[in-house]
């Protein structure tokens, strides 16, 4: 009775530990934003959170992130991808204030393209001007 219970407890802890194995990236500049999109790791199947500090990010060329054709592998299962703005310096805290984090293009409407696989996507607390969005899978 005790051994099966301990085994169950051990497995439960492993599952909880895996669920918390999220990747979080604090992004505080335009260059860091482009770098984060460029460095998507196809082997990282955990949930991924991009935290964007409040401020303006200048979008010159398009941003692209792909879990199927660009960087990823269509045969793998990936965790949820979240891109969230409104963070303070160092991403210590987050505010729901609208417009705190803004993606701004001078002209031409460059695109933010995100292609998921079977993973879900959430974009929140992000403002933008002159930027198009293509969300697909």
């Amino acid at each position: 009775m005790t051994a099966p219970f301990l085994m169950f407890l051990l497995l439960s802890l492993l599952v909880v530990g895996a669920a918390r194995a999220d990747t979080e990236t604090c992004i505080e500049s335009t260059s860091a934003l482009y770098q984060a999109f460029a460095e998507v790791d196809a082997d990282n199947t955990s949930t991924v959170l991009f935290k964007l500090r409040s401020g303006t990010y200048s979008i010159g060329t398009g941003l692209a992130l792909g879990y199927r054709n660009l960087d990823g592998d269509p045969n793998r299962s990936y965790g949820k991808r979240t891109i969230r703005g409104g963070y303070s310096a160092g991403c210590a805290s987050q505010s729901e204030t609208l417009g705190a984090t803004s993606l701004v293009a001078a002209a031409g409407n460059p695109s933010v393209r995100i292609e998921t696989n079977n993973n879900s996507l959430e974009i929140s607390n992000i403002s933008s001007q002159n930027v198009d969005f293509v969300l697909s899978n």
Partner: protein, 85 residues
């Protein structure tokens, strides 16, 4: 896929997935300026008989300056009627 608590101005948003539930929540999306016939949001999932598109939801949000355009592409059957509420 969810867009939440966001404000996108002078934009065009293309949502193209039949595998995911799509949602726009508590957001404001304003279409590109200069073209009165432009779309603010285009929802265009591919229709597959075996795997039909999932849900598309707009809640507590505003689309300005352009239309919401829904286009179901592909397949050889007509999709069921949509409900708008």
């Amino acid at each position: 896929m969810t867009i939440r608590q966001s404000r996108w101005e002078n934009t065009r948003v293309l949502l193209q997935s039949r595998c995911h539930n799509m949602a726009i929540r508590n957001s404001m999306i304003t279409s590109r300026t200069g073209n009165p016939f432009d779309h603010a949001v285009i929802y265009s999932p591919f229709w597959d008989v075996a795997n039909p598109p999932q849900s598309f939801t707009v809640v507590g949000s505003t689309l300005r300056g352009g239309t919401l355009f829904i286009a179901i592409d592909g397949g050889d059957v007509n999709p069921p009627a949509a409900s708008v509420g």
